[in-house]
């Protein structure tokens, strides 16, 4: 018993079965979890490459625990029992040795009779020893398991036999018998194992799960002995009668010849048994289930097994055609529709879907009260491009209870979008309401437990693209405002503003916009406060617009006007003074030495920047041009004030505003109007920094590997260890013509104090002057 537990996993019941991988590999509209009960959920189809074996999890292992708890009258420590039976790590006992647990913890404070406690301890401790023989610990990289030799196995079996004879508790006696069968099998004594089974389980009519666990071993022996029919029939029985051995029985029921199939069929006592054979074969991986569905229907009529098989077959077609990871899954579907009139990729699939539809029709007309078949019929009609017929089927199905109604409505929604290139305002309102209701996405997160909502949204995105409405297409494709903030562009921001400012929106447009803007209000609350919500969206868009305008020094006044039109909460304090320079770049204000007595907010700084620019232009003031250069350098990707012109800064790739052209232009003016050589040298050095960043921008635009020309690639302390690469890096900058200002500094300002400081503090410049 204990040993058998050790090879199973602790149950998560049905939750652990079936397609538990959250990253679906295909868009799944015909959701088996919505349409079918849980019992056979391990047979639901999944295309996950690692979980594509159904019954991949050991199921219902709680059943054994329940039997033990009943035997112990719930008088033992539950957590300890879990660890003892399963061998798994538990919260209370961690990986404490199980023999110690049995002796010292399991029965602590229990009110069980001492004789029962002692008997249970004897059994559990012996079961631990049996693990060495029957379930030896297996290091996956050990060629051979660490198990008992024949002599040790013989001694162990003698102990089990003796304990079995002496045991008084029937519950434990059965378990000893099971251990005996199992141990004899693993000790290569199959004949004795079968005899032991017959002696202890063969005559009685025990329905305890342990009898079926023992039968599982006997069936395995029969298979090895060539008694295939008998063996498979036993596996069939175990599958039916013993949920906690379904996993094992399912995989053991692996018939590979007509003779074995017939031999097993002949042993079946009832149509149900025969139908189960068809269910098992039809649900096997790589099988097409239709033929077995037809046979099972002939034997049993409508049944959960049939519905499970049909769901599998439909999901297979989804898997082959609704690829979740394809670049253009929806485009492919429309292209299939145009090419062959169905949503399916090829004639073979269309043909098979047609056969499934005929079968679904039969079930539908014979079982009109079963909503499953109405939905299966409608969905297969949908897949085969018969949209009107599918709609008719859905309409005729009447009002369905949840969750069937969700499948019905999502199919209807998909058909509507497939049929129409554009929608009326009323249709758009209805689509929005349906999306929220069907998928329970009240906050328009556009990401739910399942991916069928994403499918509908992708269809809508396709239609919007078709109509040339790329903004709305982006909304449906789950783009968010953060994408725009990361790399804003005037046309996109203007289009967004125009969209927000429209006098009327359909519900669908609002839903899409709400998601794009990251609004997490409930849909109803959002609509009740619509005017204010739209105004807030407009402010967000205007902030992006103003930030974008700032990147052009000629549009500072426009930017300032927009910033000042925003509510006060949009303004924020700036750390440090963006007018200050530093020899070495420092990005994160908290790490930079930005001590300053000046305190700006964004608005006050932009105002100041506009003033300085006006003065510089009126007076040709080198100082003011230099300050402007510093500000534009510091507000770029390469400076600590990047938040003034960017919403986000990537630490691994250039993004946002990384163009140092404005800064360089200001530094050039600062050099031109410099009142003295020290000022000119300082401006020249900063011009060199801006120029180097323009080289990185050029390389980025040429799609060079980011790593090759990454601004932060060579830390001062590191370049010596990568000297060859470093030399090439420096030469590439120079050869591309982006060292003009280092050269100018070297040639024209060698005698300045600033030159000496630059040599001391800037290794790039030091390298340039000494080695290039």
């Amino acid at each position: 018993m204990l040993a058998a537990w050790a090879i199973s996993h602790w149950p998560l019941q049905a939750k652990a079965c079936g397609p538990d991988d959250p990253s679906y590999h295909f868009f799944n509209l015909f959701v088996p979890e919505w349409l079918l009960p849980e019992e056979y959920s391990p047979a639901f189809y999944t295309a996950n490459p690692y979980f594509n074996n159904i019954w991949g999890e050991h199921d219902y292992s709680n059943d054994n625990l329940a039997e033990w708890q009943a035997f112990f009258k719930n008088e033992v420590n539950q957590d300890a029992l879990l660890r003892v039976l399963k061998g798994q790590y538990t919260e209370t006992y961690g990986d404490m040795p199980r023999d110690g647990l049995i002796k010292n913890h399991l029965f602590r404070e229990s009110k069980l009779p001492p004789a029962q406690v002692e008997a249970a301890k004897r059994y559990l401790l012996l079961a631990l020893d049996i693990e060495k023989l029957a379930d030896p610990y297996r290091d996956i990289w050990a060629y051979e398991p660490d198990t008992l030799d024949a002599e040790q196995a013989g001694a162990l079996i003698s102990r089990i036999e003796a304990a079995l004879q002496a045991e008084k508790f029937p519950f434990l006696k059965e378990r000893y018998a099971f251990q005996l069968v199992k141990s004899l099998r693993y000790a290569n004594q199959p004949g004795k194992a079968v005899e032991a089974y017959q002696a202890y389980f063969g005559k009685g009519d025990s329905k305890s799960i342990i009898r079926y666990w023992a039968l599982d071993h006997v069936a395995g022996i029969e298979l090895q002995q060539g008694k295939a029919g008998q063996a498979y029939h036993h596996f069939l029985t175990i599958f039916r009668q013993c949920r906690s051995r379904r996993h094992s029985a399912y995989y053991s029921f692996n018939i590979t010849s007509e003779a074995d199939w017939q031999a097993t069929y002949a042993l079946c006592q009832s149509p149900e048994e025969k139908a189960l054979m068809h269910f098992l074969r039809g649900s096997k991986e790589q099988a097409l289930g239709l033929h077995d569905m037809e046979q099972a229907f002939g034997l049993l009529g409508n049944h959960e097994w049939l519905r499970t098989l049909m769901a599998r077959e439909i999901n297979k077609l989804e898997s082959a055609n609704f690829d979740y990871y394809s670049d253009k899954p929806v485009e492919q579907l429309f292209s299939n529709l145009e090419a062959n009139g169905t949503l399916l990729l090829n004639q073979e699939q269309a043909g098979y879907a047609g056969q499934l539809l005929r079968f679904a029709n039969t079930l539908y007309y014979n079982h009109r009260s079963d909503p499953f078949w109405a939905l299966a019929k409608a969905y297969l009609e949908f897949l085969t491009g018969q949209f009107n017929t599918a709609n008719l089927t859905l309409n005729q199905s009447g009002e369905l209870k949840p969750p069937f109604d969700k499948v019905k409505r999502e199919i209807a929604l998909a058909i509507l979008i497939f049929k129409k290139e554009s929608f009326t305002a009323e249709e758009e309102n209805r689509i929005a309401d349906e999306i929220i209701a069907i998928f329970g996405d009240d906050e328009a997160q556009f990401f739910t437990e399942r991916n069928n909502e994403e499918f509908i949204l992708d269809l809508l995105a396709y239609r919007a693209r078709q109509r040339g409405n790329l903004l709305l297409a982006g909304f449906f494709a789950r783009e968010t405002i953060w994408l725009l903030k990361e790399n804003p562009a005037h046309p996109s921001v203007d289009a967004l503003l125009e969209f927000i400012r429209r006098p009327r929106h359909s519900s669908l447009e609002l839903l899409a916009l709400k998601h794009f803007m990251g609004n997490s209000q409930k849909w109803q609350a959002f609509n009740m406060n619509l005017a204010a919500e739209l105004k807030a969206f407009e402010f967000q868009a205007l902030e992006i617009k103003a930030t974008l305008l700032m990147r052009d020094p000629g549009k500072l006044a426009e930017a300032l006007a927009l910033f000042e039109s925003l509510p006060p909460e949009y303004d924020f304090a700036i750390e440090g003074n963006p007018f200050n320079m530093s020899i070495n770049d420092c990005i994160h204000p908290e790490n930079c030495n930005l001590n300053t007595s000046t305190a700006y907010t964004r608005n006050s700084f932009v105002r100041k920047l506009a003033e300085v620019k006006a003065i510089a232009e009126q007076t040709n003031s080198a100082t003011d041009y230099y300050l402007l250069g510093n500000a534009y350098y510091n507000m770029s990707y390469f400076g600590p004030s990047w938040r003034l012109m960017n919403f986000y800064r990537s630490g691994s790739q250039y993004n946002g505003f990384f163009d140092c052209s404005p800064a360089l232009a200001f530094f050039q003016k600062a050099i031109q109007y410099a009142p003295d050589r020290e000022s000119a040298a300082r401006a020249c050095f900063m011009a060199a920094k801006a120029e180097q960043n323009l080289f990185f921008k050029l390389m980025h635009e040429k799609n060079s590997y980011a790593d090759d020309y990454w601004w932060g690639k060579y830390e001062i302390y590191a370049w010596g260890s990568q000297q060859d690469e470093y030399i090439k890096f420096q030469q590439d900058i120079s050869n591309s013509g982006y060292r003009r200002y280092f050269e100018k500094l070297k040639q024209e300002y060698r005698d300045t104090k600033f030159y000496q400081r630059a040599i001391r503090e800037c290794r790039y410049f030091e390298y340039y002057t000494t080695r290039m």
Partner: protein, 336 residues
């Protein structure tokens, strides 16, 4: 009929003396249960085969991303002791895609596993071969793995399988850090393509890859002897069924021949342990003798051949598909 064919082959082989100019013939043994039947053993002896390239294990990754061994070899009988066994390890490409797999750790695990097998059966291999269809993304970790194996191997010869595109474009695909390669002149078509004619050996596709006259490593050459039927269901490849002769398909009443090597399933039935469905299609593929000869002539021109010819793979029924003395003739064509 089959026994008669094999007898003829063996008689013919027995009549031949190995020529100095012949390539040394070896065989891959790719099944997990190493057992030679009498006919296979006689064929090996007659061909003068000294070396068998035996797949010791596959390495793959599980759902947890960790590498694990599977399909490990089990030796039955004493036959292996009569040959020089070259342990082969097939490693799936996705193993090296897993971020949880460290090349150094995997090398240690694989090497230790190989030594456990060697110890269990008293083997002392002088060469080890690694088989991985590496890609640009996995080249780094795979080659790292081989370098670590080199450190552990204590002077044993290391070889690696080389696919045709890797032979043709060593600059782009990289050169594995081993002592020699085994050029796999087979599996050159797209088996998933239902319009493919012969994915095992198709000289129209394969020969252009041999334009390069040499490769930076000494090369053994591997040629196919195997056959299979590819099973297509709903227009997509479903399974590979190992069958040696097309006659098996021709004689099956549940199959209808619809073209050269092409069959359609008329009704559901069990076939070679597979449950086939009505509408399934089967395509039989095998290397034609004349195509093998063409291939041998082209491979002969490779300058840095090691002189070894390896057939994939040892199977009594596959041997019967070829005329008597045919394998000798191939070896002679490849010899100098």
């Amino acid at each position: 009929m089959r026994l008669w064919g094999l007898a003829l082959l063996l008689l013919a082989l027995a009549g031949c003396r190995q020529q100095q100019s012949e390539s040394q013939v070896g065989f891959y043994f790719w099944k997990s249960n190493f057992k030679l039947n009498e006919a296979e053993q006689r064929a090996l002896d007659t061909l003068g085969v000294a070396r068998l390239f035996v797949k010791f294990l596959d390495v793959d990754v599980g759902a947890d991303g960790r590498a694990f061994p599977k399909a490990s070899v089990r030796f039955e009988g004493e036959a292996v002791g009569r040959y020089e066994a070259v342990p082969c390890v097939f490693i799936t490409n996705r193993t090296f895609q897993s971020p949880s797999v460290s090349p150094a750790g995997l090398a240690e695990s694989v090497w230790d596993y190989l030594q456990q097998i060697n110890k269990r059966y008293g083997l002392r291999p002088a060469e080890y071969q690694f088989d991985c269809d590496w890609t640009p993304a996995t080249r780094g970790p795979y080659f790292d793995f081989l370098r670590h194996i080199r450190r552990l191997s204590g002077g044993a010869v290391l070889s690696a399988t080389i696919r045709l595109h890797q032979y043709r474009y060593p600059q782009q695909t990289g050169l594995p850090p081993v002592d020699k390669g085994a050029l796999m002149y087979y599996n050159m078509g797209d088996i998933s393509d239902k319009a493919e004619t012969n994915s095992i050996l198709n000289n129209e596709k394969g020969l252009p890859y041999l334009q390069a006259a040499s490769y930076p490593l000494p090369l053994d050459v591997a040629l196919p002897l195997f056959s299979w039927a590819l099973l297509y269901r709903l227009g997509e490849l479903q399974s590979i069924i190992n069958i040696a002769q097309e006659a098996v398909l021709e004689q099956e009443p549940n199959l209808e021949k619809i073209g050269p090597g092409l069959y359609e399933v008329k009704q559901n039935f069990y076939f070679e342990a597979f449950y086939l469905n009505a509408g399934d299609r089967l395509r039989f593929e095998s290397p034609a003798p004349e195509e093998l000869e063409r291939a041998a002539d082209a491979l002969h021109k490779i300058q840095n051949r090691s002189g070894n010819l390896i057939f994939y793979h040892l199977d009594e029924q596959a041997l019967q598909n070829f005329p008597p003395d045919f394998l000798h003739r191939l070896a002679r064509r490849l010899g100098d």
